[in-house]
């Protein structure tokens, strides 16, 4: 029996290590461990509740908006405040922009290097300026390292990495495209962060969230700024919201789960309620109430 340790897992937000037990070439058990503790719950206790939305955002620098928003909503309900329309809309716009940012960084900058072979760039013979300069950079770096035994790494932070025959994509063209997209995605991710900062005050770690809504009044210039960046992100990702939505609907259909036309959950039909009672999922009183509401 052998133990394999992967410590640290890099390219994630936070600190993680994995321990794997291997027997006769098969994984028999595995553990994951968060390697860092800060004690947010203890820190928050006894503080001004309004500070909470600033402090909780520091849980994660990639998704601070989710934490800040959750905290603001808690405060909304504790103080029994209903956010006004401006607050609700701007909060949603900021959260949506950060979703974009989060997904781009996750796919391109965190995950991709597990699959993409950065060394494939050495054989690049196309005409993309950016890729050519990356090729020259990797070449130079590798040569510098050969001449300097005291060099720490060459072509960091991309090398060194796990080496082996089956680790990375073998298709050269796919690798080159992926590397080009990796570089482009830095710019696109930053544009998504511009959208966050436009209505949230700054990015990462919003400053504009407060119980009851946001601190900012949207102006024409700000809305244009947001729209402009959204359009550029959309252009580069090649997916517009209707396209994405159509794809998800098609996917749901194929899975046999028909998507409803709106975001509201559909009320159960009479047949479904009766089936629920028969299978024991619904109590008789709940079912009676549902049937009564259907008849109204």
């Amino acid at each position: 029996m052998a133990r394999v340790y992967l410590d640290p897992i890099t390219r994630i937000e936070g600190h993680l290590s994995i321990e794997i037990e291997v027997q006769n070439g098969r994984v028999t058990d595995a553990w994951s461990k968060g390697d860092m503790f800060r004690g947010f719950e203890k820190i928050l206790k006894g503080r001004n509740p309004v500070d909470a939305n600033q402090i909780t955002q520091r849980i994660c620098g990639v998704c601070p908006v989710s934490h800040g928003l959750a905290s603001s909503k808690c405060l909304d309900s504790a103080f029994k405040i209903r956010p006004n329309k401006n607050g609700r809309l701007l909060r949603n716009l900021v959260l949506g922009a950060n979703f974009l940012q989060s997904h781009i960084i996750h796919f391109y900058h965190l995950c991709a290097l597990d699959y993409v072979d950065i060394k494939a760039i050495l054989e690049y013979n196309g005409s993309d300026d950016k890729l050519l300069s990356v090729r020259d950079w990797v070449k130079n770096e590798v040569q510098i390292k050969a001449n300097r035994p005291d060099a720490i790494t060459a072509a960091g932070p991309f090398l060194p990495r796990y080496e082996g025959n089956d680790f990375y994509i073998k298709d050269k063209n796919l690798n080159w495209t992926a590397i080009a997209h990796y570089l482009q995605a830095f710019d696109i991710r930053m544009k998504a962060h511009k959208m966050v900062a436009t209505f949230g005050g700054r990015a990462p770690h919003l400053i504009g969230l407060v119980p009851g809504g946001v601190t900012q009044v949207p102006t024409g210039a700000k809305i244009r700024e947001y729209k402009k960046n959204l359009r550029e992100v959309e252009k580069h990702l090649g997916v517009s919201y209707p396209t994405a939505r159509a794809r998800f609907t098609a996917l749901l259909d194929r899975l046999g789960l028909t998507a409803s036309g709106d975001d509201e959950p559909r009320p159960l039909t009479r047949e479904q309620v009766l089936a629920g009672v028969a299978s024991g999922e619904l109590g008789p009183q709940d079912a009676a109430a549902l049937l009564a509401s259907l008849e109204e």
Partner: protein
């Protein structure tokens, strides 16, 4: 490698603030960069951090991060960006310690726990998890300069926030200066998160001029932290005319909403986050994140008091919450 005068100004000062920093000498920069073609190694360690400083670093507008990594520095180790993982990653810093090169820049993000090494570990050596404190002390010994990115590593920040009941913090989180005991090598780049220009600009200053930038009493570069937010604020004219915002969204100076701009050295009102907005410009006010007392400010907290009027507070239904809010409003803390 070539860099134009305009590019250099942008790096050092940001586009809007290019004229504001006479301390930066432009002559000879091109040659200096050529000399630096054997790029300065940078090792970036994340301790008790949220990676916010790293994400902020990626927001660098000009030069963009890909240019910085491929042309200006040699980023040997960075947990969020590096290709290697597990022992491949750890070998990099282990060798950096063993080779004892003395020309690298160590960047530390996040505070360092002192109550127990297990509160933050990074990698395994000889079958044992290694506390991040060991990496920071070992790497700092030979580093040319230790750069603390963010308030956590500069002053303790959020992980070092006090538990109100006993004035301690949960993990004994401490700043890098407190761990090393000697701050002569340290440049602090506080901010929660710091602006990418502050981090990249300071590294560029080190590479191009070979010396530390001029530092203030908290060892922060004066070119970025020398003036207060208030001095550069968008609402300065409103302040001078005595126009104060009374609630969020009002026009005017944000002082009465608890803005800490008068006590905070930072140039965000002119530099802007990702080029589009600033803390004061968005009507939220400064939370003082580049200063040592952040986020405690004694018993004050980040926001001075709740901005609700007495009428609104009296409408809070839960008696316990209402009393707590009233206590806070009168300057007290929740626990007493």
């Amino acid at each position: 490698m070539a860099i134009s005068r305009r590019e250099f100004l942008k790096i050092m000062g940001g586009t809007t603030a290019a004229i504001a920093f006479p301390g930066v000498i432009i002559q000879g920069c091109k040659r200096a960069l050529e000399r630096a073609s054997a790029r300065t190694p940078v090792i970036w360690i994340q301790a008790q951090s949220c990676s916010g400083c790293s994400v902020s670093l990626l927001n660098s507008l000009d030069p963009d991060i890909a240019t910085v990594v491929t042309q200006y520095i040699s980023l040997n180790f960075h947990q969020t960006l590096m290709g290697g993982t597990g022992h491949v990653a750890i070998n990099v810093i282990d060798e950096a310690v063993k080779k004892a090169r003395n020309d690298y820049v160590l960047v530390v993000e996040g505070s360092i726990p002192t109550k127990d090494d297990m509160y933050c570990t990074l990698g395994m050596l000889n079958g044992h998890h290694v506390g991040v404190k060991k990496w920071v002390t070992d790497l700092a010994r030979n580093a040319k300069v230790v750069l603390t990115a963010g308030t956590c590593s500069a002053f303790g920040g959020i992980p070092a926030a006090e538990i109100r009941a006993n004035g301690d913090n949960p993990t004994g989180a401490k700043s890098v200066a407190e761990i090393l005991g000697d701050n002569s090598k340290i440049i602090n780049i506080p901010g929660c998160p710091p602006h990418p220009d502050w981090m990249i600009g300071t590294i560029m200053h080190l590479i191009l001029k070979g010396t530390m930038p001029e530092l203030d009493e908290h060892r922060r570069p004066k070119m970025y932290y020398g003036k207060t937010v208030h001095e550069q604020c968008e609402h300065l004219s409103a302040y001078k005319r005595g126009i104060f915002a009374q609630k969020w969204g009002d026009p005017g100076c944000l002082y009465k909403l608890g803005c800490l701009g008068m006590d905070t050295g930072c140039d965000i009102p002119r530099r802007k986050w990702v080029g589009v907005n600033s803390c004061t410009g968005s009507g939220s006010g400064c939370i003082g994140c580049t200063e040592k007392p952040f986020p405690d400010y004694g018993n004050r907290g980040i926001y001075k008091h709740l901005t609700a009027s007495l009428d609104e507070i009296n409408r809070i239904e839960n008696a316990e919450i209402r009393q707590a809010v009233l206590n806070l409003r009168n300057g007290g803390s929740i626990n007493g």
